[in-house]
Amino acid sequence: MADNRAVIREFILESITESTVGDDEDIFERGLVRSMFVMQLVLFVEQEFGISVTGDDLQFDNFRTVERIDELVTRKLAAA
């Protein structure tokens, strides 16, 4: 969902010095954020979208790009 992507992107942009981030850009590989930031992303999506990230969803790869985070959120919302 485009709206969700915008919300996710905005959260990431609030935490980095760059002014833009592509939806398929790996924010960790690009060095925009450090690995520990992944937990802030988890807490953010849980709070923002009312989902809970546990078990098999706790994969670093799910949080690498805006696109992947959006996919996870969409999947969790559909399953709720």
Partner: protein
């Protein structure tokens, strides 16, 4: 002494939580002690997030919160350490906080129990003297985040016995950590060099030799460090950095450890680094675009 099964962890702050998680990952039972119930309640919640973080960053050794809590006792009573096989103490880095703990530990723990001090600057020898069994007291300077850092700086105090050093290393091996043993001295090896480096980097900025960003870039881009000294200082917390450099200054009485006025000013201004949103770098308005 070789059979450590249950470990007492004193202090449920960042380090105590990290040590607890690493211990449970390695299968040790834990008795976690802190001052009051409220802190312990908060700790439980934070541990739940911690295990999720480690599940993503180090999936191989991950455990669930249920697995962590299954064999962890949370208590406000130091006497509950009567039956543990080893203690890792992580209380606040203040002599006034640590002293009363060590004065009691000697009478609570079994005589053969090793007491490991997890500190970044306080004298292990001085703390050991309070226990009545300094031969069993040793420094274990864990790095943060504990479950992700492979090596521990082990500090042999003046009276620490060789059997304590051997048993401590054996314990750390069982915990999945390597150890490097050094002798007791203010700041040991890591923090003496690290704090002096941070302080000198602060002087460079203070004197206008280079900006904070350029100073850090030189370390990252020329030396291949993951993070520059000033960003590292922001991560540690500038208040903690100042406290550490002041300990070094007080202990050595050597002017080379005098705190940089810029560092003192930032701390006075409440700019304590990442945790307060600003230090040498700004973490709040990083946003603009």
């Amino acid at each position: 002494m070789g059979n450590v099964r249950t470990v007492g962890v004193i202090g449920a702050g960042v380090m105590g939580r990290g040590v607890t998680t690493a211990l449970r990952q390695a299968g040790f039972r834990v008795v976690l002690v802190d001052r009051d119930e409220e802190i312990l309640e908060r700790t439980r919640a934070r541990l739940r997030d911690d295990v999720r973080l480690y599940a993503m960053l180090a999936p191989g050794s991950a455990i669930t919160a249920d697995e962590l809590f299954a064999e962890t006792v949370f208590t406000t009573n130091l006497e509950d350490l009567a039956d543990v096989d080893l203690v890792v103490e992580n209380a606040t880095e203040l002599w006034t906080v640590k002293r009363p703990i060590y004065e009691r530990l000697g009478g609570i723990c079994r005589p053969d129990v090793i007491i490991a001090v997890n500190t970044s600057a306080i004298s292990i020898t001085r703390l050991g003297a309070l226990t009545g069994r300094p031969e069993n007291v040793i420094g274990m300077h864990f790095m943060n985040p504990v479950p992700l850092k492979p090596t521990v700086e082990v500090i042999r105090a003046h009276h620490t016995s060789e059997s304590t050093v051997d048993a401590a290393r054996e314990f750390l091996t069982a915990l999945g950590k390597k150890s490097i043993v050094v002798n007791d001295s203010p700041g040991f090896v890591t923090n003496r060099v690290m704090m002096l480096t941070v302080n000198e980097a602060a002087f460079l900025v203070h004197e206008g030799v280079a900006s904070a960003a350029d100073t850090d870039r030189l370390f990252v881009e020329c030396f291949g460090h993951t993070m520059g000294p000033l960003e590292t200082a922001d991560l540690i917390g500038l208040d903690t950095v100042l406290l550490s450099i002041e300990v070094l200054y007080d202990e050595f009485k050597d002017s080379k450890y005098r705190p940089c006025p810029l560092l003192t000013k930032l701390v006075d201004a409440g700019l304590h680094g990442r945790k307060s949103g600003q230090g040498f770098f700004n973490y709040e308005s990083a946003k603009r675009g």
